[in-house]
Each structure stands twice: as structure tokens, then as C-alpha cells.
Amino acid sequence: MKAIVVGCGRVGSSIALQLAREEWDVTAIDEKEEALQRLGEHWAGGFVVGHGMDTEILRKAGIEETDAVVVATDGDNTNIVIGQVAQKRFDIQCVVIRVLDPARAEFYNERGLRTVCPTKTAIDALTEAVRSCEIPRQEATV
């Protein structure tokens, strides 16, 4: 199985490494050449320097033969556009994008883009953590 990961920051590089460990053939894309270092010395997958909005860069990364695309740059709108390009132009069935803003994540999710919203996950987890706190009950005073 082949995957492209657009945006090789803390999130993207970890996903790329994890998928590679699971025997995926992974190519990462990032604007900065230094991002390659995040993948470690033994990175055997592909790496393309460039902007994910550029269809030539996507082609160079092999988007025409890929099974999955993960979009995790640090820009919500960039991810939303790249995700739609992968889905609508290159007809990729499995496209997953990171969107930090819960409102936009929900809107595009409803429109058929698979969005993952870390902010929403954090909100839910933190709220649940507060709920599960054991707060000693105060004696009722009259």
C-alpha cells in the first residue's frame, strides 16, 4: 500500500514513520528540506521538497498511484484545499486531513472530506478529565 503524507512537521513525520513501520510505502512532502531530518537517518521512503498545493509536486510524489493521502501541514485552509484536490482531481478514495478549527472541520466533514480535529479531541479529553476528577465532597453547612 502506498501513502503520501503532505506536511512533515511533528504530526506528519510521526504518521509517516508509523505507516512505514506498518509496511506502507510512504512518500513525505514538505516545503522545507530540513523536514527530512524528522524522519531520521534510516528513512527508506520518499521525500519531495515543495508545496502540496502544486500539482506537479503531488505528481512527483506519486499521487497518481497512491492509495492514501494524509494532509497535515500547519495551515487549515491549505489542508482543506489539498485534501479536495487529492479527492476530486486525483480520485483518491482515502484522504485524511488535519483541521485545527472545529467549525471548519465539521463543515468539511459533512461535505465528505475525512477531517480529524485535534482541538476537538483535546476539548473532549480535557472535559472528560475534569468530569472524572475525584473532588472531595464538602460537608453541608447549615
Binding site: 498545493m53 500539482t55 487549515d76 479536495q84 476530486k88 471548519r104 463543515f107
Partner: protein
């Protein structure tokens, strides 16, 4: 008319000024604080500070009314695309117009169905083409929705079309001649119109038919 503008740079603020002068109601959203402060001095309560791709910012600016027109004029193409999609598909805005900063992103706007776009770079390059004589075929107008374009050619000396009537020309499928300009006089091209050396011919054609049209009209 109520117009919502996203992006208060040179383009957005100039457009706003003109629309206000014409008596329209306008709200402008600008993200950068320094720019917002300057705009606020001029436009007061008609300017808002915020990210126009955030739903609550758009809602505070009155996108729910909805506006008659939303202009996405920021310097970021991805922001402009998202603003147009939100305005159209979430809030039911009928007319959206987007600025294209990098012409390489034009196909993305097209892909997302954002039909009304303006790209300064493409326009300037079109004009350059118009001014530089070695370009034998000049793009005058792109009718993207109709998938047609209007081009101009000048018939050179010795071209295969010289002395031929329009009805005798083996024009490609999907291409028609519109008019012929000769000695400063223009006339509609009909079947009996004969082409001469030096004629300036307007043609309408489907994109991609340029080479065939060139072969018929220009190459000897």
C-alpha cells in the same frame, strides 16, 4: 446591495472605497491588526478585525443575512477558496468572486466550482501577449464557464488563408471566425468574407484548438 469583503490590502480597500461611493453597504474583514487599525480610521465600524475563514467571524460580519455578494480578496489563495466555499455552500450566498494570487492555483478554483475569479498576473500576461507582436495568436478573453475563448490573429503574407473565403476554410470543429478588421474597418465574418494579408481576425474556439486554427489561417 450588501457586499462582504474579505481582505483589506490594496485591492480590498480600494474596492470597498469604490463600492461605498456607489452607495452600497459594505463590511470588510481584515486579519492583520496593523492594517485593521489603519482601515478603521477611514471606514470606522464597517471594518472588522478577524480571520474571514472562521465561521464566527463571518457570522459577526453578517454572512447569515446573506450578503448579495462576497468578495474573497485576501493574499492567500487557499483562504480565498475556503471563504468562497463557506459563503456559497454553508450560508447560501449567491454570488462569490475570488482573487487568484498565483495563476498556478487557477485549476484549484475551477475544481472547486469557484467560477468568478480575477487574476492580476494572468491579466497582465494576457496584455503582454497582446502587445508583443511575435505572438501570432493573442488570447483576448477566456469564457471559462462556456469553455470557450476569443483570440485574435493577424493574417501574414503568404498564409494559406490569404485570398480564401471563410466558407472555404477547413476550420476545425469547435472554432468559428467572428469578425475581420481591415484598414481600421471591422465587419462580421460570414461565409463569403474573403481574407486578405494583414487582416486582423477574431475567432471563438474551444481551448486546445489553437494549433489547428493556426495551421488553417497562418502557416504556409
Amino acid at each position: 446591495m450588501y457586499v462582504l469583503i474579505a481582505g483589506g490590502g490594496k485591492v480590498g480597500s480600494s474596492v470597498m472605497r469604490s463600492l461605498l461611493r456607489k452607495g452600497h453597504e459594505v463590511t470588510l474583514i481584515e486579519q492583520r491588526r496593523d492594517r485593521f487599525d489603519r482601515l478603521e480610521e477611514e471606514f470606522e465600524h464597517m471594518v472588522m478585525n478577524g480571520d474571514a475563514t472562521e465561521l464566527y467571524v463571518l457570522e459577526r460580519a453578517g454572512i447569515g443575512r446573506p450578503p448579495d455578494l462576497v468578495l474573497a480578496l485576501t493574499g492567500d489563495d487557499e483562504d480565498n477558496m475556503v471563504i468562497c466555499q463557506l459563503a456559497r455552500d454553508k450560508y447560501g450566498v449567491d454570488k462569490v468572486v475570488a482573487r487568484v494570487n498565483d495563476p498556478r492555483n487557477q485549476p484549484h478554483f475551477d475544481l472547486l466550482g469557484i467560477q468568478q475569479t480575477v487574476c492580476a498576473v494572468s491579466n497582465i500576461l494576457g496584455l503582454v501577449e497582446h502587445e508583443v507582436p511575435e505572438h501570432d495568436l493573442i488570447h483576448l478573453l477566456e469564457l471559462r464557464k462556456e469553455n470557450l475563448e476569443i483570440v485574435e490573429v493577424q493574417i501574414p503574407k503568404g498564409a494559406p488563408s490569404v485570398g480564401k473565403k471563410v466558407e472555404r476554410l477547413p476550420l476545425p470543429e469547435g472554432a468559428r471566425l467572428i469578425s475581420v478588421m481591415r484598414n481600421g474597418q471591422s465587419e462580421i465574418a460570414v461565409g463569403s468574407t474573403e481574407l486578405h494579408e494583414g487582416d486582423q481576425v477574431l475567432a471563438v474556439l474551444q481551448p486546445g484548438k489553437e494549433d489547428e486554427l493556426r495551421r488553417v489561417l497562418l502557416q504556409s
